[in-house]
Amino acid sequence: MSETPWYNRGLFSSLNLRQKTLLTICLTASVLLIIFICGTLINANLPTDFTIKMQPPSFEHPFGTDWMGRDMLIRTIKGLSLSIIIGIGASIISSIIAIILAFIASMNSKCDEFVSWLIDLFASIPHILLIMMISISLGKGAFGVIMAVAFSHWVNLTRVLRAEVLQINTSEYVALSKRFGKSRFWIAKEHILPLVLSQIFVGTLLVFPHAIMHESSVTFLGFGLSPHEPAIGIILSESMTYLAMGAWWLAFFPGVALLIVVLLFDIIGDNLKRLYDPSEANK
């Protein structure tokens, strides 16, 4: 993978990879931050104005208006910021689950087998179905969705961490620490955690786009956030009703906005991975 992806080309080609990566991360992060801050500042109860309902995109309302005359751009930004919050919550919780499981796996071979089996178990149920089930069992809503997404996305990071911890555990210095009578927890804290920190960080970020996508998917299906929430999934499932009438803007712009947010997180995660991965640093 010697080449740089398309978003690292062109304008910034004079910079080196590290600078470019940092710049990309800063740019994308600030875009996301702006969306997030704008979203939190917007009042959830948008003014309804039935005189301007169902209007196609115009200069006044770039994303058009919905059946209650609400501005779709504002609804979309509000929805995105909600998605970002849920994404953050879900990816952090899933990383915590992954860390705990990786730690359990490092205890002994029995525990390791158990964790492997758990990974197999969770990987054998289709993601969406699993999220639906967990969300139902927790009574849907924001809490249900965050937990559902978190509990279905720890698998990859756990796999990575487990392999990493296994490797560190067989190293010389860990063996030495053990001989000095240091506790398992001490070793984990002092030796293992610092080494896998970057993996955890990148892993958490990589869960993020999936979390947002899955959140909107289950919400779209009706197992996530309630219809009163200004979520993207809700907006899109609402748009289905008006699709046949030709109100394409109701589905198109919120979807594109969601796609861009997911893509931005993908880019950040991808860049960080390149930055941390020593094997790719030279290229």
Binding site: N16, L17, R18, A281, N282, K283
Partner: protein, 315 residues
């Protein structure tokens, strides 16, 4: 005897990015000059991993795209450009590769020897030739259907050699043909290569094993730090006094049968202003540190050294 291959002042370098910031040109082969005639075996002797193989790749036109090449390669008097290379490779010029890794792991060896065919008829014709050559090297029909991983070391050697011979080439390039083989297989390989010479073929043998080069070649080129520093007839390598370059002398003296004297130091990796051997040279002068000697002719041999005359007079 007709000249088959002429390489004049060939240099190969790669552009690399170090730490993402600095562009760095690393030279692998510098100012290489060598020639191979019909019915002749010329060996290029250099330490392993020093980039000798790139000479072979360059002749066949299979260098990676980021390689910068200067100099000239001629085949039978014609300049070898990329088009001609692509036309001749596999037919007039063939490669005998290093190891079984050069065969597709999922393809039966006979099919790989036969190679790409336009139609059924061509395939059938080539199959006959393939069987004939395999049989010549004692590979029976059961070998045809084996996959590369099923071959033993000696068998793999013969398969690789046969594969190179299917196109009935005039020039063969053997790239490290004896890595990690047992003594018997090495002897066989040497015999096989010498046998090619009897059939009028020219062979360019690339190796790091002095023994193999001495037993096989007619002429030996010493490859040191990207430079050819001496080309001499094989007879002259019997005695350290008959070779010209101080490094070659040291090399011959280091052979077990001549008393084990090893050269000190390593080959410099970075570009140096002067002679690449200056650091380790016993007869070096100030000039050697500042200026690069050229490869020049001396009594039928080629030598790249300012002081070889004085040194040899003194000996």
């Amino acid at each position: 005897m007709k000249e088959l291959l002429e390489v004049n002042n060939l240099s190969i370098s790669f552009t690399q990015y170090v730490q993402g910031l600095n562009r760095h040109d690393s030279k692998v082969i510098s100012d290489l000059t060598i020639d191979v005639k019909e019915s002749e075996i010329v060996a290029i002797l250099g330490s392993s991993g020093s980039g000798k193989s790139l000479l072979a790749h360059s002749i066949l036109g299979i260098l990676p795209y980021n390689a910068n090449v200067t100099g000239e390669i001629k085949y039978k008097g014609q300049v070898l450009n990329q088009d001609l290379k692509e036309k001749l490779r596999g037919k007039e010029i063939c490669l005998i590769p290093q190891s079984v890794n050069f065969l597709d792991p999922l393809m039966k060896v006979s099919e790989q020897a036969i190679g790409e065919c336009k139609n059924e008829k061509e395939h059938d014709e080539k199959k006959v030739i393939q069987r004939e050559i395999f049989a010549r090297y004692g590979l029976d029909e059961s070998v045809d259907d084996l996959y590369p991983f099923e071959l033993s070391g000696g068998m793999a050697r013969k398969v690789l050699l046969s594969t190179a011979l299917i196109g009935n080439p005039d020039l063969l390039i053997a790239d490290e043909p004896t890595p990690g083989l047992d003594v018997k297989s090495v002897e066989e390989t040497i015999e096989d290569i010498k046998n090619l010479k009897e059939h009028g073929k020219g062979v360019l043998l690339i190796t790091h094993e002095i023994d193999v080069a001495l037993k096989t070649a007619d002429r030996i080129a010493i490859f040191y730090s990207g430079y050819v520093i001496e080309i001499n007839n094989v007879e002259n390598f019997k005695n350290a006094d008959n070779v010209l370059h101080p490094y070659t002398k040291a090399l011959i003296n280091s052979l077990p049968r001549n008393g084990f004297k090893l050269t000190e130091g390593v080959q410099p990796l970075d570009e140096v202003p002067g002679c690449p051997y200056y650091e380790n040279c016993a007869i070096g002068t100030d000039r050697c540190g500042k200026e690069k000697p050229n490869l020049e002719e001396h009594e039928g041999a080629m030598i790249r050294c300012f002081n070889f005359r004085e040194a040899n007079d003194g000996a």
